[in-house]
């Protein structure tokens, strides 16, 4: 199959043609941001001292952690109320940044439904959307949020066509945004072919490049949460490919945000491998002056529906970030099992994570043989998939990626997206690290397979049973099911 994509920078002519014909006319709020030069000037003014990219980069340089709570509500007043509450009740400033998320109707481009959700929320007197409808509200409302927040802002738009959302929030001085086509396809898409999706994402990245070149650095989220349940090598691969795609469009800062599998050694190894490969492959393709801020996103599988267990999850994920050497600690909160985060829940999470940083001092995961072995395996696997990708694309990472998905070299177990093979299967080992139960078509080298088999045997020995597909299914809920109290023996 041939693919209608190349990893090449959009020319100004291409960019502005797409902007004027496809992006701004999507909704009436596109009119207010027609003048890009003016947008950049206002964004620059609004983010003096609170640029998202520069704040992340500074923490990375200083070796300090940054906290990133997440929030999204249907109405602007709810947004400002929530942001102010968390900032005032958690000492988040100056070591915090925000991810604000849009609602799913907006993410899917159904702005009429989002508008109806705004009206419904007003009528019911409560929040009826799962995020802030960026496009319906437009740039002036987004700027109100920028002005109300002390900490820098990022938008999580998490779906196929976020171009108008990205235009609006960049113009309002939110300097993050999403640039993760693989993540988008795996977690949120149903039918879109990868080459078509990459074309859309090139626009977001090029827009970020233009802002960066004009004095407003943009640091997109380069996320590898994927299905919530994936091999670390798949995540490293995802992060590296997404860095290369964005770098071609002029992106210089990348928040390399890993989905955590929740095994400390394995996640630490993953973060290290990704950073190493991001540096190496960018150098190989000639992308200079790149800054990678390594971040961890809390486990994206099912969460426990009770306070104590939820706090254990928040703490364990934050501990992995802190001890694993991740700069950015993205936070979920105690409401995760029930709905979108409340302001109280998010303030609690920031306080919890901050106290862990205080308690831990400079403690990090020790440089051990075990850690090195885990790194070796993840690196070997990620390189195998990356190198096949580059070879298949004849040096073009975009074409290579399309081919890697088609061939099932890159794969996930459960995804709504119809183009991914879905042949690979995962299971946890005796230490709850994520291992392959079925390799599908993923080109895992022999040595890594042997290591994987060894790890599966350890669990079989521990439980005294052969591992079957039933464990693959039950492992999906290992973190969320609460134990039923056992009766006392007489």
């Amino acid at each position: 199959m041939t693919f209608a994509i190349k990893n090449e920078r959009l020319t100004d002519e291409e960019f502005f043609k797409i902007r004027n014909e496809e992006v701004l006319p999507q909704w009436e709020t596109g009119k207010a941001i027609a003048n890009l030069e003016e947008n950049i000037a206002i964004a620059k003014e609004l983010t003096q001292g609170k640029n998202y990219a520069l704040t992340l980069a500074e923490h990375k340089k200083n070796g300090t952690n940054i906290f990133e709570p997440q929030f999204g509500r249907a109405l602007t007043e709810y947004m400002i109320e929530g942001i102010t509450y968390v900032e005032e009740n958690s000492d988040m400033y100056p070591d915090g940044v925000w991810t604000l998320f849009s609602d799913t109707y907006t993410r899917k481009g159904d702005f009429k439904k989002a508008a109806a959700g705004i009206e419904r929320s007003k009528k019911e007197g409560m929040n009826m959307l799962n995020g802030w409808p960026v496009v319906c509200f437009g740039v002036e409302e987004a700027r109100k949020i920028t002005k109300a927040a002390k900490c820098p802002l990022n938008l999580n738009s998490a779906d196929e066509d976020a171009r108008l959302q990205t235009e609006i929030v960049f113009a309002a001085g939110w300097n993050g945004g999403n640039n993760n086509p693989i993540m988008t396809a795996i977690a949120h898409s149903k039918n879109i072919p990868m080459d078509k999706l990459l074309k859309i994402k090139q626009y977001d990245a090029r827009l970020g490049g233009i802002y960066t070149e004009n004095g407003v650095p943009i640091c997109p989220h380069n996320a590898s949460n994927l299905s919530g349940y994936d091999a670390p090598a798949m995540r490293s691969y995802t992060n590296v490919v997404q860095v290369l795609l964005a770098a071609e469009q002029g992106i210089k800062y990348s928040h390399v945000m890993h989905g955590l599998g929740m095994n400390m050694i394995q996640d630490t190894a993953m973060g290290r491998v990704t950073e190493k490969l991001c540096n190496e492959y960018c150098e190989r393709f000639g992308y200079k002056d790149m800054t990678f801020i390594i971040g961890g996103y809390p486990f994206l599988g099912a969460w426990p529906p009770r306070l104590e267990e939820a706090h254990a999850m928040i703490a364990w994920n934050a501990l992995i970030d802190i001890m694993g050497g991740f700069t950015n600690i993205v936070l979920k909160c105690e409401d995760e099992a029930f709905g979108t985060p409340s302001k109280e829940g998010m303030a609690n999470s920031v306080r919890l994570a901050r106290h862990l940083v205080t308690l831990l001092g400079d403690q990090k995961v020790a440089d051990s043989d075990r850690l090195k072995l885990e790194e070796k395996m993840i690196e070997m696997e990620a390189r195998a998939i990356l190198d096949k990708t580059i070879e298949a694309g004849d040096g073009d990472i975009a074409i290579g990626l399309c081919k890697a998905i088609e061939a099932g070299w890159f794969d996930t177990m459960v995804s709504p997206w119809c183009h991914v093979k879905g042949k690979v299967e995962y299971i946890r080992d005796a230490e709850n690290a994520v291992r392959y139960f079925n390799y599908g078509n993923v080109p895992i080298p022999k040595e890594a397979r042997e290591y994987n088999e060894e790890k599966l045997k350890e669990r079989e020995k521990k439980i005294g049973k052969k591992l079957t597909f039933d464990y693959v299914v039950s492992d999906l809920q290992y973190a969320s099911i609460l134990p039923v109290p056992k009766p006392f023996k007489k």
Partner: protein, 144 residues
């Protein structure tokens, strides 16, 4: 009126714009294991696809999964579409994190009332296990 003969068949999917499909996937495995015929529609499924699949397999029930908080709005109108399509006896279940506002999630009787009002037979909390869902449907169908 004569009640239709249950034939152990269900339609399962994630409704509206919701891509969170692991719950529906786990559910589909559990129903298959229990001997049901399952039309598993995956994620981001429009109401009409649920109805069409139910007609196609002559389903006893439609099991709607919703995780992202906008389940109430997405489920409104599904009962009417079923009735229009001649599926007036079909059982409708919804489950997951069905309401974005925590004030609603923490007021479960209100959620049950709202789903009853829009024609759903039952609504399940996200703490429900797949096996519980299987057992509940079997009981509602009066089958083993």
């Amino acid at each position: 009126m004569e009640k239709r003969q249950a034939n152990k068949s269900v339609v399962i999917g994630t409704i509206g714009g919701d891509a969170h499909m692991i719950g529906a996937w786990v559910l589909s495995k559990a129903f298959e294991k229990a001997g049901f015929k399952v039309a598993y529609l995956g994620a981001v499924v429009p109401q009409k696809d649920f109805v069409n699949a139910a007609i196609e397999i002559d389903a006893d029930a439609i099991l709607v999964s919703s995780m992202y908080g906008m389940g109430i709005m997405d489920c409104e109108g599904l009962r009417e579409k079923c009735i229009e399509a001649g599926l007036k006896d079909i059982i409708l279940y919804a489950g997951g994190t069905v309401a974005a506002p925590l004030e609603l999630e923490k007021n479960w009787p209100e959620i049950e009332k709202r789903f009853e009002k829009i024609g759903f037979n039952r609504v399940f909390k996200n703490t429900c296990t797949a096996d519980e869902a299987v057992e509940t449907l079997k009981a509602d169908l009066g089958i083993e």
